[in-house]
C-alpha cells in the first residue's frame, strides 16, 4: 500500500505502524458522568465499517507523525490523509 503523506508525499505503508479506528483520538472526559461506560465503549467497541474507514497510521520509519487515513475497507482505496494532530486540534483536544 501507498499512503500519501500530507507533508512527505506517497510513502510505502511498510514505513508505518497501523493502529486502527481513528475514533481512538476521542478519548472520553474521565470526569464526565458515565465515564466508565464511555471508556469501555472507547476502548472496546468499533463500527468496523465495510467501506470508508478513518484509521490511525503512525509514520514510525519516517517523520513520526500520526496520520488519519480515510480508506475503503472494501477496495483499499485511500480517499484522504490528514495529520492526526490537526484532526485532534480540530476536535478541540488540547491539554
Amino acid at each position: 500500500m501507498i499512503i500519501n503523506h500530507p507533508l512527505l508525499g506517497p510513502r510505502d505503508a511498510a514505513e508505518f505502524y497501523v493502529m486502527g479506528d481513528a475514533d481512538l483520538i476521542n478519548r472520553p472526559d474521565p470526569d464526565a458522568e458515565g465515564a466508565a461506560e464511555a471508556f469501555y465503549e472507547y476502548a472496546y467497541l468499533r463500527d468496523n465499517p465495510a467501506g470508508e474507514h478513518r484509521e490511525l497510521w503512525y509514520h514510525e520509519q519516517g517523520d513520526r507523525s500520526w496520520l488519519v487515513v480515510t480508506r475503503s475497507t472494501l477496495t483499499h482505496e485511500i480517499m484522504n490523509v490528514e495529520m492526526a494532530r490537526d484532526v485532534a486540534l480540530a476536535k478541540g483536544r488540547g491539554q
Partner: protein, 978 residues
C-alpha cells in the same frame, strides 16, 4: 542421442551446442533452447507422471502454463523440484530428472493406481479410509502422502542467495509481445519512465513463435528491432526473465527476475531478485493461453497444444512429431497445420469440429470437417487417433486447439471478475481492474496481430497522456489473422477425458461433482481439485467450467467464473525471503561494550534485536551457573558492572513535559524535583501494565525516561500518540537517545568507591543520595550522566557516556575497579538479583498484569487522570481473590524451582479448577543458598507462610513451596540507600 527431431529454422544458435542429461541420458541442444524444446529435439516424448493416476505424460505446451513436463532440475542441494521444462532455459551441463514415479519413468510401479481409477473418482477419499479409526494416521495417510506430491526437495539448505529491490516507474508494461512492445515504444518515445517486463529471455512473445510479419519483416525480427530501440532509451528499463507475479494495492507489483537460472552456477551472485515495482500506471499485455479439448484418452505424450507445436517448429526448429495431426475448433489451429507443412513437417490430418469449408488445402493431409477425436492409442507415447466417425489416423503428435484464453490473471488479483465474450469463447478482463491497471492486446481479447499492436499503442498513448506525456500512437503494418471459433468443449465417448492434466480431473469427475451437489464453481474446484495444480488451471479452468455449464444446463457466465490469486506463476520461497535468512534474518543491535565482552569470555543471548552478554565465563568455570553465581556474589560482595544500554531512553522536553508524564504514568510525576529520579508505572488505556522504568528530571523542562528493553519502541509510539492525538495542546517533545548513550550499572558496596575515581563530582550519599541524577563528566572531561538507581538492590549507580566512548568507558571502569575485584556481569546475574529483590520483569509484565497483580495497586493515583486509570477500576480487575505477585522458596531448600509450574493446594488434584497461579521466574540465590521464585498466586498477599504444591506436569516435577515476600533480600532497602 541425436537431435532426431531437429529441423531447419528457428531462433536457436546452432553454433553453440550445449550438452545436458535427462534421467542420466546425455543429450545435446542449442543455445536458445528450453529444456522442453531440447527434449523434443532428441525425441524424448515421455517426461513425467501425473499426480493421481501416475499416467505417462509428455510435453503439453511451450510456456509457463505447462501442466505435465515438470522435472527436477540440477542435483544435490541445488535440486529444484517441479520445474517446468518448457521455461527452463538450456545451459551446458544441465541435469534434469523426471519426478513422481517409483521405479523408472517408463515402468512406474505407482501406475497401478491408474487401474483402480474407477474407484478413485472425485472425492472418493471423503467416503472411505475411516475404519478402523486409528488406521488413518498409521496406514492410509502415509500411503496417500507418499504417492501424492510431485517433486522432491533435497532437504538441504538452498545453496543459492537471493536479493530484493525496489523499482519506480510511470508505466509498467507486463508482457513484451506485440501489444507490450507497442505500448513500451509509444510510452518510451513520449518520455515516460517505462519498465517493460517479460518472463521470456527473448522479447516478442508470440511474434517469436509465429510466421506473421510486421512492417514487412519477420515478426521476430521486428520484435528484436523494437527491443533494441527500447534498450537505447534511458527512460526505459527492459527486464527479461522477469515474471510480474502479483498486482497489489496502489500500483505496487511484485516481480521475479531470474538472474542466473540460465547458467550453470550463480557464481556467488543472487540467483534471483524479487522486485517491488511502484507504478503510476500499469498496462497488462500478457497475451493469451491456448486451451485443450477434452476427448477420451487425451492425455498421452504427444498430445499437445496446437500453438505450442508451432512454437517448437517456428522458434526452436524442432518438430514435436514426425507425422502431426491437428484437432481444432477454431481458425488459429489451422496455422499449426500450414506452418508445419511449410516447415516440411508431415501433416497427417486436420480435424475441425466445425462444419465449415476447410481453411487450407494441405497436401498429404486428411481434412475432416465437423469431426472430432474420439480415442487415442499408445501408452508411453501417442501412436494413433480415431475420430468419432471411426477414422483411424496414425500420428505421433496431435496438436489440439480449443481456443485461446486471455491471460486475465493479474486483473483478478484484487478480486476483479472477468467477463465472458461469446465471440471469442473466452473470459476477458472485467470492468473492475486494479486501480491504475489497463489491458491491451490478446490479453484483452484482441487476439489478432494487427489489432493487438494497435491496441497496445492506443492504450499506452492514452495512459501516457493522462500522466502528462505527449504521446502519439503509431502502428506498424501487420495482418489480422483470422481467429474465428465455434466453442466445442468435449467429445463424448468411452474412456476418460482429461480436463486438468496434472491433477487428473476428468469430464466424469465434473459430472459426478454436479450430481453430488457440488455445483458452485468453488465447490467444483474444491471437490474435484480442478485447477488446483501447479499450473493453477491455466489450461483447464475454462474447460472445466464449460463442462459444468453443460451438466447444469446453464451458460458459462451463469455457472460462474473463477478468479486468480497471486502469484501468476509460482515464486521460490527463497526469493520471497531474499537475504533474510540465517544470521541475516533480522539485524543485530550490539551494546557499546560488545567488543570488550567478546574478548572477556562473554556468552551472548538474544534480547529482542539486541545481543547482550549473558555471563562472562572465567577460568575453569564449567557450567553457566558457576559464572552467574560468581557474578552475583561479586556484585553483592564488592562491585559488579553491567552494560544496560539496551534499556530504552527517551528524551522528553517541553513546558508541559511534567504534565505529560503525569498523563502517561499511573503515578504522579508533576512534583518530581530537578535532579531526582522516580520509578514510573505505565499502563495501557485498558488498565493493564504496559511498562515500567525510571524517569529522571535533569532540568525543569527536561526529563530522561527509561523503558524496558523490549518496550522501548512501543512506549515511544504510545507517547507520540498521546502527544499528537490526545493532548496536542501540550508543549512536549520526544526523541530516542537509546543508541546515543552507553550506560553501565555499577552496583555493589564498592560502587561508590569505584566511581569516585572516575566521576568528576562528589557522589557521597549526602551530595548524591539514592534516586539522585546529574549531568556531569568523567575522567576529567568526557560528558556523562549519572543516576543513583538500583535494580540489583545494592548501592548502585548507572553511568552513561556518549556511545562512542562506551568501549573506553568499560575498560576504564574495569581498570578503576581492579582494586575492588570489579566483576562484569551479564543478564543472567542481573536476573538473579532482580528476582531476589522481587522486581517484575518480562516474565511478569506479560501484558495481562494489573497493578494490583503486581502489588502496586496503590501507585495508581486516583487524584489525576492518566492513561489506563479509568479502565483499571473495572470490577474483575479489582477482585480481592485475584492473582498477586509473591515470592517462593522450596520447603526442601535443596530442590530447584521451575518457572512455568502451576500452584495447587496440598491435597488438591492438578486440574484447571484447582489452578491457583504459576511460577513466573526462578533463580538460584547464592546469598540465600537455595532456589527462589516469583509467581502469581491467587490471594497471594494473604498467603505468606502457606505451603503449596508447585506442579510441573510437563517435565514431571513437583516441589513443595512456601509463599514468602517477593523482597527476598534486604527487604528494607538499606543497601541501596547506603
Amino acid at each position: 542421442m541425436t537431435q532426431s527431431n531437429r529441423i531447419a529454422g528457428g531462433l536457436v544458435d546452432r553454433s553453440k551446442q550445449l550438452s545436458f542429461t535427462f534421467n542420466n541420458k546425455s543429450m545435446t541442444g542449442y543455445e536458445g533452447d528450453t529444456l522442453a524444446s531440447a527434449l523434443l529435439a532428441n525425441g524424448q516424448r515421455l517426461v513425467g507422471r501425473s499426480f493421481k493416476y501416475h499416467r505417462p505424460r509428455g510435453i503439453f505446451s511451450a510456456g509457463s502454463e505447462e501442466p505435465n513436463a515438470m522435472v527436477h532440475l540440477r542435483r544435490g542441494a541445488a535440486q529444484e523440484p517441479n520445474t517446468r521444462a518448457t521455461v527452463a532455459e538450456l545451459f551446458n551441463g544441465l541435469e534434469a530428472t523426471s519426478q513422481n514415479h517409483r521405479g523408472s519413468l517408463e515402468f512406474d510401479l505407482m501406475s497401478v493406481t491408474d487401474l483402480a481409477s474407477p474407484f478413485l473418482s472425485a472425492g472418493f477419499y471423503y467416503k472411505t479410509f475411516m475404519w478402523p479409526k486409528k488406521f488413518w494416521e498409521k496406514l492410509y495417510e502415509p500411503a496417500i502422502r507418499a504417492s501424492a506430491g510431485l517433486g522432491r526437495l533435497s532437504m538441504q539448505e538452498d545453496p543459492d542467495s537471493y536479493d530484493k529491490g525496489f523499482l519506480h516507474c510511470d508505466m509498467l508494461i507486463i508482457g513484451a509481445g506485440p501489444a507490450g512492445l507497442m505500448a513500451a515504444l509509444t510510452a518510451g518515445r513520449a518520455g515516460a519512465r517505462v519498465i517493460l517486463a517479460d518472463e521470456d529471455h527473448l522479447m516478442g512473445g508470440r511474434l517469436n513463435a509465429e510466421t506473421l510479419s510486421v512492417d514487412d519483416q519477420e515478426g521476430s525480427a521486428w520484435a528484436a528491432a523494437a527491443a533494441a530501440e527500447l534498450d537505447a532509451m534511458p527512460n526505459v528499463r527492459l527486464m527479461t526473465r522477469t515474471s510480474v507475479y502479483g498486482a497489489y494495492d496502489h500500483g505496487v507489483y511484485g516481480a521475479l527476475e531470474r538472474m542466473t537460472d540460465h547458467v550453470p552456477t550463480s557464481g556467488g551472485k543472487p540467483r534471483q531478485v524479487l522486485w517491488r515495482i511502484y507504478t503510476k500506471r500499469a498496462i497488462l499485455t500478457a497475451g493469451a493461453t491456448e486451451r485443450s479439448i477434452a476427448f477420451p484418452m487425451n492425455d498421452r505424450p504427444g498430445v499437445m497444444l496446437a500453438g505450442s507445436v508451432r512454437t517448437y517448429v517456428n522458434r526452436y526448429g524442432v518438430a514435436p512429431g514426425k507425422k502431426v495431426a491437428v484437432f481444432t475448433n477454431n481458425d488459429d489451429g489451422w496455422r499449426t497445420a500450414t506452418d508445419l507443412h511449410a516447415a516440411g513437417v508431415s501433416i497427417a490430418a486436420v480435424i475441425d469440429s466445425r462444419e465449415i469449408t476447410p481453411l487450407a488445402a494441405i497436401p498429404g493431409a486428411l481434412i475432416l470437417m465437423g469431426a472430432s477425436v474420439a480415442s487415442t492409442s499408445g501408452y508411453l507415447g501417442l501412436k494413433s487417433i480415431a475420430t468419432s466417425s471411426g477414422v483411424k489416423i496414425e500420428t505421433d503428435c496431435l496438436a489440439v486447439s480449443g481456443g485461446w484464453s486471455p491471460n486475465v490473471h493479474l486483473t483478478c488479483h484484487q478480486r476483479g471478475r472477468p467477463t465472458w465474450r461469446d465471440d471469442i469463447g473466452a473470459f476477458v478482463p472485467g470492468g473492475d481492474l486494479p486501480i491504475g491497471m489497463h489491458v491491451a492486446g490478446a490479453g484483452n481479447g484482441s487476439l489478432a496481430l494487427a489489432s493487438s499492436l494497435k491496441e497496445g499503442a492506443n492504450v499506452s498513448a492514452s495512459v501516457a497522456s493522462d500522466l502528462g506525456f505527449a504521446a502519439t500512437a503509431a502502428f506498424p503494418s501487420a495482418e489480422d489473422q483470422s481467429t474465428d471459433i465455434t466453442p466445442f468443449w468435449h467429445v463424448e465417448g468411452k474412456g476418460r477425458a482429461w480436463i486438468d492434466l496434472q491433477n487428473d480431473v476428468t469430464v466424469k469427475d465434473v459430472k459426478q461433482s454436479q450430481a453430488e451437489g457440488f455445483r458452485s464453481v468453488e465447490h467444483l474446484k474444491r471437490y474435484t481439485t480442478l485447477g488446483m495444480a501447479t499450473d493453477q488451471g491455466k489450461t483447464s479452468n475454462v474447460l472445466g467450467l464449460a463442462i459444468m455449464a453443460e451438466a447444469t444446463g446453464k451458460s458459462i457466465p451463469e455457472t460462474g467464473t473463477t478468479i486468480f490469486r497471486p502469484p501468476y506463476s509460482p515464486v521460490p520461497i527463497g526469493a520471497l525471503a531474499g537475504r533474510a535468512r540465517g544470521k541475516d534474518f533480522r539485524p543485530f543491535r550490539l551494546t557499546p561494550s560488545h567488543k570488550w565482552a567478546e574478548t572477556h569470555g562473554a556468552d551472548f543471548v538474544e534480547a529482542g534485536a539486541w545481543l547482550r552478554a549473558q555471563w562472562f565465563r572465567k577460568g575453569s568455570e564449567k557450567g553457566w551457573r558457576d559464572s552467574v553465581d560468581r557474578e552475583v556474589e561479586a556484585t553483592r560482595g564488592s562491585v559488579g558492572i553491567c552494560d544496560v544500554t539496551t534499556l530504552g531512553k527517551i528524551d522528553i522536553q517541553g513546558r508541559d513535559a511534567a504534565a505529560f508524564l503525569n498523563k502517561v504514568y499511573a503515578n504522579g510525576f508533576a512534583k518530581l524535583a530537578v535532579g531526582k529520579v522516580r520509578y514510573g508505572l505505565m499502563m495501557r488505556e485498558d488498565g493493564i501494565v504496559m511498562d515500567d522504568g525510571t524517569t529522571a528530571r535533569l532540568r525543569e523542562n527536561h526529563f530522561i525516561m527509561t523503558t524496558t528493553t523490549a518496550n522501548a519502541g512501543p512506549v515511544f509510539r504510545h507517547m507520540e500518540f498521546a502527544r499528537q492525538c490526545l493532548w496536542p495542546g501540550m508543549d512536549v517533545h520526544l526523541i530516542s537517545t537509546t543508541d546515543g548513550w552507553a550506560q553501565f550499572a555499577v552496583a555493589g558496596p564498592n560502587a561508590r568507591n569505584l566511581l569516585s575515581k572516575i566521576v568528576d563530582m562528589d557522589i557521597s550519599n549526602e551530595a548524591f543520595p539514592f534516586m539522585a541524577c546529574a549531568e556531569t563528566t568523567v575522567c576529567g572531561g568526557t560528558p556523562a550522566r549519572l543516576f543513583r538507581i538500583s535494580f540489583s538492590g545494592e548501592l548502585a549507580f548507572e553511568i552513561a557516556v556518549p556511545a562512542r566512548y562506551g568501549d573506553a568507558m568499560m575498560t576504564k571502569l574495569m581498570e578503576a575497579g581492579e582494586e575492588f575485584d570489579a566483576t562484569p556481569y551479564g543478564t543472567e546475574a542481573l536476573g538473579v538479583m532482580r528476582i531476589e529483590k522481587g522486581h517484575a520483569a518480562g516474565n511478569e509484565l506479560t501484558g495481562q498484569t494489573t497493578a494490583n497483580n503486581l502489588g502496586l495497586g496503590k501507585m495508581v493515583s486516583k487524584k489525576k487522570d492518566s492513561i489506563g486509570n479509568k479502565l483499571s477500576e473495572r470490577p474483575e480487575m479489582n477482585r480481592e481473590d485475584d492473582l498477586r505477585l509473591v515470592g517462593f522458596k522450596p520447603v526442601d531448600t535443596s530442590k530447584p524451582l521451575a518457572a512455568g509450574a502451576h500452584f495447587v493446594d496440598n491435597g488438591k488434584e492438578a486440574v484447571t479448577k484447582n489452578d491457583l497461579g504459576w511460577m513466573t521466574s526462578v533463580a538460584y540465590s547464592p546469598e540465600l543458598g537455595h532456589s527462589i521464585g516469583l509467581g502469581f498466586l491467587k490471594k497471594g498477599d494473604q498467603r505468606k507462610g502457606d505451603k503449596l504444591r508447585a506442579v510441573d506436569l510437563l517435565r514431571g516435577g513437583e516441589v513443595k513451596v512456601e509463599v514468602v515476600s517477593p523482597h527476598m533480600i534486604d527487604p528494607e532497602g538499606e543497601r541501596l540507600r547506603a
